[in-house]
Symmetry: C2
Subunit: 436 residues, 2 copies
């Protein structure tokens, strides 16, 4: 893509409510545009990042055998009355009356709807276990939406739901998801810590939240550093392996401020290993057994001919929120660096040229065409700004690799800056091999 | 995927309102499940087909240089009041009040919102032309939702919007989209006819609808057969080529019943070439110049320093509707055949086995694993039903290629049935080469 053609409305005027760096950066680089309070349009740059995150989330869900479907955004109030949550949910639920006067709502979550789908379809233990998920927009009518897409009203989430015949099998599903989450965040270039959590309005008796480390995060975190060193690679999807993994994580101290006790911290964690930092919640998993299946009459026949309520868990990842969370974690010293796996482009080509001398632009165009042939998604900065203003701009856009075509480049070698800001003068072939 | 694991709730009990074949088939094969009046969940089989359609639509939009973004489902009423359509739109618009009492709505279309995004970003003719699109859920509160996903309330659409400095350039954008639409429908395995259309509530002075041929379609079509023989390959994206293409289509008679005149039909079309059939509208494109940009103050500076209103067009494809439309076109003699490009699986493996003899199942599993290695997306029917009931089921599911492992197969050759129902006994290598 040529930058001159890209719909990228870079802006310098920030609204006064843009107080955190992800909100500011997303507005400045034209990733999003607010269209109403807590409601955003995703412009091409932001959209590309979000789609890449979505795809990684999807792939890791598929790997553990979860199946994708899609529930609608608008739900009938009926099933919420059946579960008893219609009155409980409060004003965050966007309640609507349609033209026939029927009560409907914009789904803030999907436990009821997925249970309704499941109860009418699955009758026997033979069809279990199952994990179903979808990636869909949700709405919560926050009284004070803020922090851009971090706490907005319309947001994009992956919700998964597991269905098992008994608690033991349900725990395996839970552990699989736990594992998939850690792998997902790793692929997103994030350091995520799973923390035992309260279950809140979802209910149930087992829950973890996944918090990524970011200096500007909303929750304070107290943890033993060694939790970041657990090697995920040594585990696999086998039941016993997953149990060992869960145990390894559980044994290491890591809590948010709600559960913090200085005494316990000092007792359990050596001074050198004590980490006090901040984090952002990007995922939350729950096991709530038959909290929804019972009131909603979701039963299966067991092996010995009896009926049992299905044991369920639910598992969320905030996809749109992750875009902001990654910025909070990766925007340092006024410079953004997208992890390669979610960068909007693989590389940016920055030629030094002006109206009177477009030689470097021509070189850049050749490089651009060559990369295109290899399916390398390059952004060509063909604007006639000065190099210094281009560099400043790209420090915000945050594409991790740069090809700079200026005084340091020769006829067949170019300056290449990698994601660690290490510069080298190398041939196009070498650059390609680094990018593929 | 193993069929025993696939979440595919096949049902025989059809609701009385399922009167058309696509609605019936989608319910019977567990592609969708109704969750409220005119609101559906997309189960894994239906979801896969819809996603494949979406991806083809996306690729053809990208090929003409359109850029993808994503607007939210919930919009503020304000911009609709600015354009003057808030009162005009009537009860199909789902109007909502949020907890603060602000008027919001579930977007039935996006002309206002995209104009709002554009006006605040683009100030100069230099940034034009642009085509932006998104693929998003919309809601229209139909008084009588019916025909399954064909006329439902929450539906998935691709909307594109073009922005040009003058009418001539805008016409080129229109023609590009016209071309992209024909290519899209061709890739979907459909015969689509573009027809000059009225502009309706969107407004404007140039409009085409794209109708695909299906015996059970809602609109009656009168056309010269030769319109189906126009070769798209001879055209390209150049301005003059696109104009020639538009002319070739315009010169051939093709109208819906609204515009039909028997006299004209007989005069313009030779008896042998007269085609009277039915069709389903799957796309609609509009050029409405500055109908929205003027009231919404969307202006750019021109080359000679003046201001001009941006000339806009809008271009829709019903993505969720296409799933049903393809069924209406391809479900014949009680048999479904998905076009390869959108089939939920590339091939289905059907072994003949029972509890006492699972030899063929084992063979099938080997074949399945081999295909998986080649990234061929196979469905393995590992259920213990009889072969005749399996065949009946797969005639509905509609995967166009089958590998049948039964009496006709030898140790290293298998019965392979292609999408034309032609059967041959060939090796796995030969099968692979046909599927890749």
């Amino acid at each position: 893509m040529r930058l001159s053609k890209l719909f990228l409305p870079i802006t310098k005027d920030l609204p006064s409510d843009a107080t955190i760096k992800s909100h500011q950066l997303m507005l400045r680089t034209g990733m999003i545009k607010q269209s109403a309070a807590g409601i955003y349009s995703w412009l091409p740059l932001g959209f590309k990042v979000m789609k890449k995150i979505e795809q990684i989330v999807r792939e890791e869900q598929n790997k553990i055998g979860a199946q994708e479907l899609l529930m609608p955004t608008i739900q009938s109030a009926e099933i919420w009355k059946e579960s008893g949550r219609y009155d409980d949910y409060g004003e965050e639920m966007l309640r609507i009356k349609d033209r026939q006067g029927r009560e409907i709502l914009y789904g803030p979550t999907n436990e009821e709807l997925i249970t309704d789908i499941f109860r009418s379809s699955i009758k026997s233990y033979k069809s279990l276990p199952q994990i179903l998920y979808h990636i869909q927009w949700k709405f919560r009518d926050e009284i004070r939406p803020r922090f851009g897409v971090m706490r907005c009203r319309e947001f994009y989430m992956k919700d998964a739901y597991s269905f098992d015949v008994d608690d033991e099998s349900a725990k395996l599903s839970y552990n699989k998801m736990f594992y998939a989450y850690l792998k997902t965040f790793k692929r997103l270039g994030l350091e995520a810590i799973p923390m035992a959590a309260d279950t809140g309005p979802i209910g149930g008796d087992l829950s973890h939240e996944f918090v990524i480390l970011a200096e500007t995060g909303e929750s304070k975190i107290f943890a033993d550093k060694s939790i970041l060193k657990i090697k995920l690679d040594k585990y696999n999807e086998d039941k016993s392996s997953l149990e060992k993994m869960r145990n390894e994580f559980s044994e290491i101290y890591a809590v948010t401020d709600e559960k913090f006790s200085k005494k316990e911290f000092d007792k359990k964690v050596k001074k050198d290993n004590q980490m006090i930092t901040k984090g952002i919640e990007v995922g939350h998993i729950f096991y709530f057994s038959d909290k929804y299946s019972k009131p909603l009459n979701c039963f299966v026949d067991t092996k010995d001919g009896k009926k049992t309520s299905i044991k369920m868990g639910s598992y969320g990842i905030g996809v749109s929120r992750l875009v902001a969370a990654i910025i909070e974690a990766k925007f340092l010293n006024n410079k953004m660096k997208w992890p390669k796996s979610v960068s909007p482009f693989d590389v940016v080509i920055i030629p030094n040229f002006n109206k009177n001398n477009t030689e470097n632009l021509k070189k850049a165009e050749k490089v651009y065409e060559e990369l295109k042939k290899q399916n390398i998604d390059a952004l060509l900065d063909d604007t006639d700004e000065s190099m210094s203003s281009k560099f400043t701009k790209h420090e915000l856009i945050g594409i991790p690799n740069q090809i700079i075509i200026g005084s340091k480049s020769t006829s067949d070698k170019f300056e290449y800056k990698n994601d660690k800001d290490v510069s080298s003068i190398i041939s196009l072939e070498e650059i390609k091999s680094k990018l593929i």
